[in-house]
Symmetry: C2
Subunit: 236 residues, 2 copies
């Protein structure tokens, strides 16, 4: 494998409903004298995807309203503690508060997750191909908590042009034995890596990955490959 | 934030009990004309830490023996399915099969997790400081499964010189509201990011991170900051 570079994109304007994110990215990249190339990967935080797609709802600031918004975004509640809900969304994501975001939003509003993040990623990728003639991959990310470990990490909500899970089954190790832990969720590793340069509230919703292995690029989606069906899950 | 570079270290020799990992790293870095600098971070995969520390046991290849090894490494079994065990280790890690590694090991052996990965990371960091006069951070990683999402990702087992969880509580967003999801597990995001360049079985147990924000460096350990106590966990 080769060196990987993760480049935050600075100077992106505030995003509102109807804005075209590809224009925002290309304008900001132009300012830093960067252009996209084949097998670059662009990480986009879900917040700006949601805003551009109008996934913003009124929020009156009360705990009761928060719980109501969360439950409306959920198909199943796994745990309740006070106003906290661990739920499963219509996408199949399990997270605290169904990804309803009350921070860094306009006053009196909450931001919901994109309806279909894989589709949002595909559109973004296709639009970059159309305008720039390059074949990139796209990952849309959000911040999730975990069980058993403190702290949040960024994970992939949607992807395009990437194999979200790298299947190493059937490959053997240096001693000729079959490998054990064999399906690597590179989409989530990419999402977390991007967060290392994006941080919180830096006005940088985009990061460019340059140097990912060519084998990472291909077909797949987060819904198809990362979301685990409840029947396969030992903790649902 | 600035650009982040993740550099895999190639050409590292096979590691055996008693080997000095810092020598292995510095020799391999020398071959690629790299030297370590202040605020570099070195990721080391736990497999080579375990081997150098002699955490290798005989394994007869049977399912029964595997289960016996796993249960000996566990303080609590959370789930059983066939020969699979989801357990909590003495460190407080929850994972499949207590991290007992049967792949890419010498024939007839299994590799256990390091006894105290934070201590292993501190020793590595101190030895680099002594020999090279530079102040680096160290993260020791292993591959874990997750609930609710398919595929494995690399996470941090131990760290030194790093704030494993970045505490953004008390910081406000662009609108002056308190941030919601506020404790970011950067140690785990770093571990996953390293796996993007290390892959499986590439003979590259080390990756160098260059360009991490200065605020990431400081005191802390995985045991103290990342491992969640069972009483705080909604799923135990």
């Amino acid at each position: 494998m080769k060196e990987l570079r993760i480049i935050p994109v600075h100077g992106v304007a505030m995003v509102h409903e109807g804005d075209d994110l590809v224009t925002f990215l290309l304008d900001a990249l132009g300012e830093q004298d960067e252009t996209l190339a084949d097998h670059d990967l662009v990480v986009v935080t879900s917040k700006v995807v949601s805003k551009s797609e109008g996934r913003v709802v009124p929020y009156d600031g009360t705990e009761e309203h928060k719980v109501a918004l969360v439950e409306a975004e959920s198909v199943r509640v796994l745990r309740r503690r006070g106003a906290l809900r661990i739920t499963e969304t219509a996408h199949g994501f399990v997270n605290a508060n169904a990804g309803v975001d009350l921070s860094n939003t306009d006053a009196g509003t909450a931001v919901l997750l994109p309806k279909d993040p894989d589709r949002s990623a595909r559109r973004f990728r296709n639009e970059v191909a159309r305008r720039c003639g390059v074949d990139i991959a796209v990952v849309i990310t959000d911040t999730f908590g975990r069980v058993w470990r403190n702290g949040v990490t960024d994970v992939a909500l949607g992807s395009a042009g990437l194999r979200p899970v790298l299947d190493l089954r059937g490959t053997t190790d240096a001693n000729g034995r079959m490998l054990d832990a064999t399906e690597v969720a590179i989409a989530d590793e990419i999402a977390g890596a991007a967060n290392l340069v994006l941080g919180k509230d830096q006005g940088t919703p985009f990061a460019i990955f340059r140097g990912l292995d060519d084998s990472y690029f291909g077909e797949g989606s987060v819904k198809q490959h990362i979301v685990r069906s409840p029947s396969d899950d030992l903790f649902r």
